[in-house]
């Protein structure tokens, strides 16, 4: 993993491989785009957020983009889980991202050093306290965002196995966590790897030796001593591969199915389905309608004034065919008033009237 090399200009350490850099790149893209498409939604009441949302094609389009990059982030997280398992299980790496007591001591030592209270700069390993904090915050944040994101994306499913109050709570947690993550990245990450010194390790994979001395002195020593990477015999690696790959393939398939389920389980939170007209509540049996009575009522209730003698319509009122309506939808249309037709409630057209009119129209269309 780590080895010391030399370019024409300086000594460097190979710090990140191509796949790790690719992971970081995907994270940069998905994280930034999620922030760009998400924060304006948190601050939607601010004019600048409104303008920005409009610039990106409106609220509907920004939400679709947010979901796209969320899917990318989740796919990246599945990959990261696999890659991490590979490094730890097959290659025998230690879980060097987990915090230790030494990290607390390093943090205190570093602050003391900065404040001039201590002369010694702490010597740190492959991942120093700052990087561990950032990584663990990212893991925590991603898990929170995935869980709360699922709840908002699939509120109906969520309300079936959790109290539905988690959905507004999830929304608040999602937007608060986002603010925390973005602000942390700007304050801590940007300062450490871009402002303080431009750390190119994530882009070139290389870190200058003198830079290593300040931030990863212990790892540099380990590299120089050849103990940085555990030596695992080739046959053990082969044996581990045999166990790792079936597991990795199954897990990838399971998690990918989970991801597809996540993004496609329900759509009413994304594309609200067209409103379902509230059906008229009619209790009368349509067979109770008398066509002859309906013919008279068609005139006395003044249906004919707009709909003509049998529903052919008086221009500009379009024709309608009773064959398109069952009794319930006929009653609903009358009581709710489709298009420009006024609604006629039970006070104007009773249930018996509806049944008679329906029978009359049926008899004319036969």
């Amino acid at each position: 993993m780590a080895a010391i090399g030399t370019t024409a200009k300086q000594h460097y350490v190979e710090r990140f491989g191509a796949t790790e850099r690719m992971e970081h790149f995907i994270l940069v893209i998905s994280f930034s785009m999620l922030a760009i498409t998400g924060l304006p939604q948190r601050y939607a009441s601010f004019q600048i957020a409104k303008d920005f949302i409009q610039l990106l094609g409106g609220i509907e389009s920004i939400r679709i983009m947010h979901r796209f990059f969320a899917t990318l982030l989740m796919a990246g997280s599945i990959y990261h889980g696999g890659a991490l398992t590979y490094k730890v299980y097959v290659r025998g790496s230690s879980l060097n991202m987990l915090p230790t007591v030494k990290d607390a001591r390093d943090l205190i030592g570093w602050v003391m050093y900065n404040l001039g209270l201590s002369k010694a700069h702490p010597k740190m390993g492959r991942y120093n306290f700052g990087e561990k904090a950032e990584y663990l915050a990212l893991v925590w944040g991603t898990l929170v965002m995935i869980a709360t994101g699922f709840m908002m994306w699939n509120p109906i499913a969520t309300s079936k196995f959790l109290p539905a109050e988690v959905i507004p709570a999830a929304r608040l947690a999602h937007s608060s966590e986002a603010l925390l993550a973005v602000a942390s990245i700007i304050i801590w990450h940007m300062y450490n790897v871009h402002v303080r010194r431009f750390n190119r390790a994530m882009f070139t994979g290389k870190m200058a030796v003198h830079h290593m001395e300040e931030e990863h002195a212990l790892e540099l020593v380990a590299i120089q001593e050849g103990t940085a990477t555990p030596v695992v015999p080739a046959e053990i690696i082969t044996r581990r591969h045999k166990r790792f790959w079936p597991y990795a393939i199954v897990m990838t398939i399971v998690l990918t199915i989970g991801l597809i389920f996540f993004v496609s389980f329900e759509d009413s939170a994304i594309d609200t389905v067209p409103r379902q007209p509230v059906s008229a509540s009619v209790t009368i049996d349509p067979d109770a309608g008398v066509a002859e009575a309906g013919a008279t009522k068609w005139q006395t209730l003044r249906c004919a004034e707009c709909h003509g003698e049998t529903g052919e319509g008086v221009p500009p009122i379009p024709a309608f065919s009773v064959a398109d309506f069952d009794f319930k939808s006929f009653a609903t249309a009358t009581q709710r008033g489709p298009a420009d037709m006024p609604a006629y409630g039970p006070n104007q057209i009773s249930e018996q009237d509806l049944a008679d009119l329906y029978a009359f129209l049926r008899s004319t269309s036969e």
């Binding site: 609220i59 570093w110 109050e165 507004p168 002195a217």
Partner: protein, 410 residues
């Protein structure tokens, strides 16, 4: 001589009479058969000056001789009969009567000076007469006419719907009542055609307050739909703007304080998914249809009742059915996903309250920590640069520095 004198008197009377007749003929408004009774000289005066130049004539005694007789009707071409009975009292007691600052309107001001015996062709139907009569109103009520021109009623009329409302249908013809400051009259006027909606409104919290208690704070039809420029309420624009409409009263603190109603409803709506989306549409694409819920989707339109009324769409028992209009698969617990216009508190929505509290502590804590750490690093670097009078970072004292070369620092 006496005889001549007597003749002279006759000649004088004749000459005076003939002269008077000539003057009257000259002054009589020319009316060709093609001209409608309703084309009134006022129109010309208006076109010239842009204002209503003509003073109301006010003397209706001449017309009243016949028209004040009850039971006078005339049979029209389509078989309907037109009631001709109009008493001068109707005019004097109307807004065009003695209370009119311009003076009492005369019959001829609207109907034209078609003196008896009438020469104008009779209207085809009483409806035809009402529609044409209403066009006269627009000659004085210019602003109202402009508003009305683009209304749903005018468009209905243009598209051939003879039953679409015209001025006279709402305001009356001779006994025009003031509607301003009488919102109950407005509701009843609209209700004469929109009967089903009036029935719903009548039972609503607003309708009950207005029609039963006489409370004029509540909206009547025209409060939401407008007066003359009434537009189709089924457009995307109306829908997207409707929350603002409700908010015009429900976010008014003084007004709501009278009834102990929270003014938080609008802000809490805007802060939730539905409201945020609708507000965005309202701002960016008011004409693009959004089916995200607006106030009336949940609370009802004309039949709005308070949430504690069992008939209300937002009553606890009916809430699921209300959500299912848009979320058809919603399960029984789903309505709890909506915090119901309440600010989360320890007692109400404790989970949301807890999450809020958690991040109110976590965010400043974490960011404050980072700022402190960054601050110490900047402090160290500044001190170091000051001390060394050169660029670079604080050189850690390290035994493995042998290969490093700070000058190559990028």
């Amino acid at each position: 001589m006496k005889r001549i004198l007597r003749h002279q008197r006759h000649i004088f009377t004749f000459c005076f009479g003939a002269g008077l007749a000539l003057v009257m003929i000259a002054l009589w408004p020319s009316s060709s058969p093609s001209q409608s009774v309703f084309q009134h000289p006022v129109v010309e005066a208006q076109e010239d000056s842009g204002t209503v130049a003509k003073q109301p004539t006010g003397n209706n005694a001449y017309c009243a001789v016949c028209h004040s007789q009850e039971g006078r009707t005339v049979e029209l071409a389509d078989g309907t009969s037109l009631d001709l009975h109009v008493t001068p009292d109707m005019i004097t007691n109307s807004v065009h009567g003695t209370s009119n600052p311009e003076g009492v309107l005369g019959c001829v001001d609207c109907h034209g000076e078609d003196a008896f015996p009438h020469v104008e062709a009779r209207p085809e139907s009483s409806r035809d007469f009402t529609i044409k009569a209403s066009q006269v109103c627009t000659e004085c009520h210019v602003d109202e006419a402009k508003g009305q021109a683009d209304s749903v009623h005018s468009r209905g009329l243009e598209n051939g719907n003879q039953r679409a409302a015209v001025c006279v249908d709402c305001h009356g013809a001779h006994d025009v009542r003031p509607i301003k400051d009488h919102p109950e009259v407005a509701a009843q006027v609209c209700g004469t055609c929109h009967t089903s909606i009036f029935d719903e409104y009548q039972d609503s919290i607003h309708g009950q307050a207005l029609l039963v208690e006489g409370n004029t704070d509540v909206p009547t039809c025209i409060t939401c739909h407008g007066v003359h420029g009434i537009n189709t309420p089924t457009t995307a624009q109306f829908r997207n703007r409707s929350p603002e409409l409700c908010a015009s009263c429900h976010a008014d603190e003084d007004l709501m304080a009278k009834y102990d109603i929270s003014t938080n409803v609008f802000d809490t709506y805007l802060n939730d998914f539905h409201g945020t989306t609708v507000a965005m549409f309202e701002q960016d694409d008011p004409d693009v249809a959004s089916n995200k819920a607006v106030c009336y989707d949940c609370h009802g339109v004309h039949n709005i009742t308070p949430a504690d009324n069992s008939k209300s769409q937002v009553a606890k028992a009916n809430l699921l059915a209300t959500c299912q209009q848009c979320h058809p698969n919603a399960a029984s617990d789903f309505p709890d996903a909506w915090v119901g216009h309440f600010e989360p508190s320890r007692d109400r929505h404790p989970l949301v309250f807890a999450v809020d509290l958690f991040y109110k502590v976590l965010i400043p804590g974490v960011l404050g920590g980072f700022v402190f750490l960054v601050g110490t690093d900047i402090f160290a670097r500044a001190r170091h640069i000051g001390g060394k009078k050169g660029k670079g970072h604080p050189a850690p004292d390290s035994e493995v520095l042998a290969k490093s070369d700070p000058k190559k620092e990028g």
